[in-house]
């Protein structure tokens, strides 16, 4: 049973980390332009450096 004293807070901590990460992503505007983000990965902005 003592294992629960470690596992329960551990599980809650991981869950809370996920929640905080989500809040951070929301605040930093990552959900403002979902369509644009999907398209931006296709832009080759490093093509000048390859030469």
């Amino acid at each position: 049973m003592t294992i629960m004293a470690m596992l329960v807070p551990g599980a809650l901590l991981l869950g809370a980390l996920g929640l905080i990460a989500f809040f951070w992503s929301l605040r930093s505007g990552q959900y403002e332009d979902l369509e644009g983000a999907a398209h931006r990965v296709l832009i080759d902005d490093d093509e000048d450096k390859i030469e």
Binding site: L12, G18, F23, Y31, D33, E35, G36, H39, L42
Partner: protein, 757 residues
């Protein structure tokens, strides 16, 4: 979407997803009134960009702007079409930015910065935060609930410990995440109404209270998992619904952006200053360059030009102006610079008058009760009486049974309360909350891919009920551009086109389009209100009105738009034009009729033109010379006769009628005000998606009704189970998530269903 990254050689979207917007009819607007400074000392401008569709567009626009001197930041939001540009002051004029976008093949419209500020979707973010909290709580509590459900040999102490941990997560999480429901329920109760959120809020409080009481008594039935899961599912439905409404609101704001146009005021010393249209005072002298839209009503004081009033009246032929003529807000100055004196300020001008008509129309439409709300009105009293009956049945039922001779023990207050609350939990409208929004989101997403923008969920419900379709002519059933119909010898056409190339007049442009590429006549000059004059091969050439270019020629009498051309002593040539129908207008009308709909044509144009268009499109009922207010009257007549009209229109003169219709649509070429007033915007040059939209709306209604029926069936099965006292936390969790999944999957069928054609 192959070949996204093409070299930006051609204008417009490199993937060909949107037609490039020609540079020559971009409205000339002064952007200085919209520039604001930011914290870093840069000047910033927010623009609404139309025509951007893909990664190639992002790269073209951002790359093109960043290459300009002084531009520090250019960021395009592809979802909303908003572009933010920041630059070092004085290094570049804001007009360069708009010109660059126009040259790239896109159209940019400035945003009033104060309005842009309000544009941030705070409500949507709050719902997402609530959703995240509910999701986090549901998942973590499930971790403690699973051992309780399946650990048959678990001791009372361990179970109570796990319940307490669940309570510590569930109580704050539920109180936070249920705020949207509490607020809406409170608003409804204050207005002495009951909506779906009243039973939800009640269930949240009762479930939390009962579960805490059970935990204190070391009982088995705590519903912390059920309540957080319920909130999670309900918030998904709520968020989807909000996203749809937000789209509609954004579209409505663009109407205000239209009114925020800048104006050029001429002060006492003759200098021109740029002011916002809202700051115009009666008596101000204003300058209108060719291509400008009049910012307010007024009287012309100087200059000779022609006005395009088609957006106001539906009349395609440009109106020549003289000094002293009236000019209405929203008309476009075509050929020469004009000065005007303002006679009505922005709020009292014709455009604002139309905006008010739109508002009135929309209030009428606000009386439409949404499907989900109608279900809620039926649902709430039934569920609450059922819970009350359950309580009474368990509390006084045994005593009644004993009175008639049965041997029954008393169940007690606690069991009666537990079972009554169990009824409220299991019937909580989880599936009901998802049933309609899920279908609407899937079907509007599907229509969006076909180029139809649906601005609200209930628009789709209203579209499914349509039985009459009313079309506007100019720009809706027709392309809104004149096209040359006369047979002209190639050398005469080429000569006339060389004169036409110096003019911005719509008929001249149509002539140039028919002639193809060529050179402009070097010494041609435009004579305002008359035509173009020049010398070709040493001979005098004139192109324009009959009285100017072909004195003495007789009137053909057919009323068509025309240009006359004379070269030297040769007899004059007549160029007749017509406004061509959209290629699929006739097939669309036929498809609508095949669906049992009445089709009407109402236009502000001349009877001859309207009759020709009606005959070509196969429409029997048509009216010509209809004033904007009379269009609204006609729609009110139709509604009073019990019909459900769909209005399709594009001009400012249609905006009020669009708002008065049961449901409305406008083509993507329509003015902003009309797009804002309509429920659907067709983004391509075709009308056919309209038919598909009606089909999908009907299918969506069928799915939504199926979902509501399933929710009702689920409640009919589950509620007696709970009333009889058989409900356990495991059954509650399984039943609630199961029913939500089923309605969502049923909604997803919309995605794959083939459109009936």
């Amino acid at each position: 979407m192959a070949g996204l990254i093409l070299e930006p050689a051609a204008a417009g979207c490199p993937s060909g997803l949107a037609q490039p917007l020609p540079a020559d009819d971009a409205p000339a607007r002064d952007l200085r009134a919209f520039v604001r400074g930011d914290a870093k000392g840069h000047d910033t401008l927010e623009l609404m960009v139309t025509g951007a569709k893909c990664a190639g567009c992002i790269r073209k626009i951002e790359g093109g702007l960043l290459a300009l001197p002084g531009v520090a930041e250019a960021r395009l939001n592809l979802s909303t079409g908003r572009l933010r540009v920041a630059w070092t002051p004085d290094l570049i004029a804001p007009q360069r930015i708009a010109d660059t976008l126009t040259a790239l093949g896109y159209r940019a419209q400035p945003f009033d910065p104060e309005m842009a500020q309000r544009n941030v979707d705070a409500e949507g973010r709050f719902l997402l935060r609530c959703l995240a909290v509910a999701g986090f709580a549901a998942m973590n509590i499930m971790m403690f609930s699973a051992p309780i459900w399946f650990g048959e040999d678990m001791g009372d102490g361990t179970r109570t410990l796990l319940h307490w941990i669940s309570a510590l997560i569930a109580i704050p999480a539920a109180l936070y995440a249920a705020q949207p429901f509490f607020r809406s329920a409170w608003t409804a109760l204050k207005a002495r109404r009951a909506n779906m959120d009243v039973p939800i809020s009640l269930a949240v409080f009762l479930t939390l209270g009962m579960s805490i009481a059970e935990t204190l008594q070391q009982g088995k039935h705590a519903y912390f998992d059920g309540i957080t899961m319920l909130l999670f599912f309900l918030l998904i439905g709520r968020y989807l619904d909000h996203k749809l409404r937000e789209k509609a609101r954004t579209a409505a704001r663009e109407l205000l952006a239209l009114q925020a146009v800048a104006a050029s005021r001429i002060d006492a010393e003759g200098r021109i200053e740029i002011i916002s249209a809202r700051d115009i005072a009666v008596g101000d002298r204003l300058m209108l360059a060719a291509g400008d839209r009049a910012p307010c009503d007024g009287v012309i004081e100087g200059g000779l030009s022609e006005l395009d009033c088609s957006m106001l009246t539906g009349e395609t032929t440009p109106v020549p102006t003289r000094i002293g003529d009236k000019i209405l807000a929203g008309s476009i100055n075509l050929t020469q610079k004009l000065t005007m004196r303002a006679t009505a300020v922005s709020e009292n001008s014709a455009v604002a008058e139309l905006a008010r008509l739109i508002e009135v129309g929309e209030q009428g439409r606000g009386r439409y009760v949404r499907l989900a709300d109608r279900a809620a009105a039926l649902y709430v009293p039934v569920v609450h009486s059922l819970a009350a009956l359950t309580f009474l049945g368990w509390f006084i039922g045994p005593a009644l049974l004993r009175a008639v001779g049965f041997e029954v023990a008393d169940a007690g207050l606690r069991v009666a309360l537990l079972n009554a609350i169990a009824v409220l939990i299991i019937t909580c409208p989880c599936a009901l909350g998802l049933a309609v929004p899920a279908v609407q989101v899937v079907s509007t997403g599907r229509l969006f891919k076909r180029g139809v923008l649906v601005k609200s969920g209930d628009a789709l419900e209203r579209l499914a009920q349509v039985d009459t379709v009313v079309f506007d002519k100019t720009g809706t059933l027709t392309l809104g551009r004149p096209r040359l119909i006369s047979e002209i010898a190639p050398d005469v056409l080429a000569a006339a086109a060389s004169l036409a190339r110096v003019s911005r007049h719509p008929l001249s442009r149509a002539l140039v389009e028919a002639a193809g590429p060529g050179v402009a006549c070097a010494d041609a000059v435009e004579v305002p209100g008359s035509g173009v004059e020049g010398a070709i091969g040493g001979a005098r050439a004139r192109l324009g009105r009959r009285g100017f270019a072909a004195e003495g020629a007789s009137d053909s009498g057919d009323g068509a738009a025309e240009l006359w051309f004379t070269l030297g002593e040769a007899p004059p040539t007549r160029f007749a034009f017509e406004d061509a129908l959209r290629p699929d207008a006739a097939t669309t009308v036929a498809a609508l009729k095949a669906r049992g709909m009445e089709v009407e044509l109402i236009s502000g144009d001349r009877p001859a033109a309207v009759e020709a268009a009606a005959r070509a499109a196969g429409i029997e009922h048509w009216r010509a010379h209809v004033a904007p207010a009379d269009k609204t009257v006609r729609l009110q007549e139709l509604r009073a006769a019990g019909r459900r009209p769909l209005m399709v229109g594009d001009g400012l003169n249609d905006a009020a009628a669009l708002a008065a219709a049961h449901v409305s649509a406008s083509p993507g070429t329509a003015v902003e005000a009309s797009q804002a007033a309509s429920d659907l915007v067709l983004q391509g040059a075709e009308l056919a998606p309209l038919v598909e939209a009606i089909d999908i709306a009907k299918a969506a209604k069928a799915r939504a009704v199926e979902n509501l029926r399933f929710s009702a069936l689920y409640n009919i099965v589950a509620a007696p189970l709970a009333a009889a006292g058989f409900l356990t936390p495991l059954i509650a969790a399984a039943a609630m998530s199961g029913s939500s999944l089923i309605v969502t999957l049923n909604a997803l069928r919309m995605q794959f269903a083939r459109a009936s054609s």
